[in-house]
């Protein structure tokens, strides 16, 4: 018998439906796998076995009584950024020590309402600020992938590194994640998994720890395109508690899989060819173009002239919003408190001890660009550039382009504790060069594995779509997946 943990969500759904397996059996298999391997990966920072079994039993009981949700009995991992009632929720920061919210985020509530089972909370970069999962208070996550013939530990990407590693190592059937500048798509590309950042407003942000509110979106990381489609359908909703959530019906994303690409126009932006990009990534991109062409899509060259300004504009807008959002961590209402000689001293000591280096750096940048005398030069300028970045996409879409194909990342996974990246924050920021434009324009983007590099590490392609046209992305990504195949790391753990 194959291991239950090797089943995709769609496969497990069939076996549960046919009563070949129960949710309790499936959940126990995952808990056993986590028990055996989490020490190696550090993907989960809190495992909730009792809750998982209790939820799985309730799911089996519902199934026996004939009530079956879209994710009935499916065990999932949850990024630590999502508020989960009475369960560890710290955005992997020291400053939220001991925090267990008395509420449930809308996205996770939607999953439980559809019958899913929670296995635990997943590691991430502190407050989702990072591209390697190394800024977590709980330590780095190890990528299940290793280069051929090498024993070097690689990062799973970030900030949703725990989510991506847990999905790739089969420590959950699927995982929630969030994406502010690439935090779903970059780790998905580094681990051979599928990750989609939906259009801004598609998933409610309520109950999710805020980083940069105009950019943050939740989405799934899953083993294949179908599983990602199944999960997003459950995660997305309009929510009275988030006024930026959009009141549009959530389509049956799974139904878009297998539809023909005939008549579709795919744009190839010349600005995504950057200096120093490995030749293999260029080759992979050309391969992706050929696959889409073979299935009937029309390929057109396009230009998105403000692409190179997206990352610098992001490093003004995101820290500015973060410095405001993170002002709430003051040692009064939750989390860590370090006593001081007066209240200001208490605030300053608490925040100095509670925030890690990268978080402090971004709060400082954000505070600086919003401070008197600098607001117009930095923040206002960045917001204007953001308008231009969005306009680039609008012009292309108005000209009839249905989706845009780009590489997902400028490299494959790199080593843990890379000295060059540690010495230069900007070098680490460049990881998001292909993904960040999508957040700046509020568009949907999906990363889908498309091949392995010569070291044997996964590489991904990204598809960018029109607002609320996630169906086009699933349909196109599915074509790439069919052509490229799926990628699973050789088990060494």
């Amino acid at each position: 018998m194959t291991e239950l943990t090797s089943l995709t969500i769609a496969e497990a759904r069939e076996k549960l439906k046919a009563k070949e397996i129960t949710s309790v059996e499936l959940t126990e298999s995952y808990l056993k796998a986590i028990d055996a391997a989490n020490e190696v990966f550090n993907a989960y920072i809190a495992v909730t076995p009792e809750k998982a079994i209790e939820m799985a039993k309730a799911s089996d009981a519902r199934r026996a009584s004939g009530t079956v949700g879209a994710l009935e009995g499916i065990p999932l991992g949850i990024k630590d950024l999502f508020g989960t009632r009475d369960v560890h929720t710290q955005a992997c920061s020291h400053i939220l020590d001991g925090f267990k919210p008395k509420y449930e985020s809308t996205v996770t509530q939607n999953l439980w309402d559809d019958g899913a089972v929670m296995l635990g909370k997943l590691n991430m970069d502190e407050f989702a600020m990072g591209s390697s999962n190394e800024t977590s208070h709980y330590g780095a996550v190890i990528n299940p992938w290793k280069a051929n013939g090498s024993n070097q530990q690689l990062v799973p990407g970030g900030s949703s590194g725990g989510s991506a590693a847990a999905v790739a190592a089969h420590l959950c059937a699927g995982a929630t994640a969030t994406d502010t500048g690439g935090s779903i798509r970059q780790p998905a590309a580094f681990t051979g998994t599928v990750g989609i950042k939906p259009t801004y407003g598609r998933c409610s942000r309520w109950g999710v720890v805020a980083f940069a509110s105009s950019l943050d979106q939740a989405g799934p990381i899953a083993r294949d395109v179908r599983d990602a489609a199944i999960m997003l359908k459950s995660m997305a909703s309009v929510d009275a508690k988030d006024t930026t959530s959009v009141d549009l019906p959530v389509p049956d994303y799974e139904a878009s899989l297998g539809q023909s690409l005939k008549g579709m126009k795919i744009g190839i932006p010349k600005e995504y060819r950057v200096d120093g990009m490995p030749e293999e990534i260029e080759k992979l991109w050309q391969q992706g173009i050929a696959w889409l062409k073979d299935t009937g899509a029309e390929i057109v060259d396009i230009t998105l002239p403000h692409t190179k300004y997206a990352l610098p504009a992001y490093y003004i807008v995101a820290p500015a919003e973060a410095s405001s959002n993170l002002a709430r961590y003051d040692g009064v209402r939750y989390g860590l408190r370090i006593d001081g000689k007066d209240i200001v001293d208490m605030y300053e000591k608490t925040r100095a001890a509670g925030f890690g280096t990268e978080v402090k750096r971004r709060i400082m940048i954000g505070t600086y660009v919003l401070s008197a005398g600098y607001y117009d030069a930095y923040y206002l300028q960045a917001q204007k550039v953001r308008t231009l970045i969005k306009r680039d996409f609008e012009i292309v879409f108005d000209a009839g382009v249905d989706a845009i194909l780009t590489p997902a990342t400028p490299s494959s996974a790199f080593g843990v504790a890379d000295e060059n990246l540690a010495a230069d924050p900007v070098a680490m920021y460049l990881n998001d060069i292909f993904t960040v434009t999508v957040n700046m324009a509020g568009l949907p983007g999906i990363a889908v594995p498309a091949g392995l590099d010569k070291k044997g590490l996964p590489l991904g392609l990204q598809l960018i779509g029109k607002p609320f046209e996630e169906e086009t992305l699933f349909r196109t990504a599915h074509v790439i997946e069919q052509a490229a195949g799926k990628f699973t790391p050789a088990k060494w753990w």
Binding site: G331, V332, Y334, R337, E348, Y368, Q381, A382, P425, V426
Partner: protein, 95 residues
């Protein structure tokens, strides 16, 4: 533009983050690296361009201004480091 040690200390004060002399000195270099990187935005001609305030053009949904939640003081203070009878306790701020 570039930041000096005094600016770093002033910004840290505004952000309510205690910094040691060593932290502040390190941050001067790091923050200048980031500021140099973002300064390329000055090349962009933004004349006549409106700053973006929302990625999706939409009217903010509003709800009726009515009480729809409450009476859960114990839940609200449940995670606080220091409380007394449903109040958050802080060091004395008024003499």
């Amino acid at each position: 533009m570039s930041v000096d040690l005094a600016t770093v200390k002033r910004v840290a004060r505004l952000a309510r983050i205690a910094v040691t002399e060593e932290d502040a000195n390190r941050m001067v270099g790091e923050l200048n690296g980031i500021i140099n990187f973002v300064e390329q935005l000055n090349e962009v001609d933004v004349s006549g361009v409106e700053p973006m305030t929302s990625v999706t053009p939409m009217d903010m949904r509003k709800r009726k201004d009515t009480v729809n939640d409450g009476n859960k003081a114990a839940e609200i203070v449940a995670n606080a480091p220091n409380t007394d009878r449903d109040f958050f306790l802080v060091p004395k701020v008024v003499e």
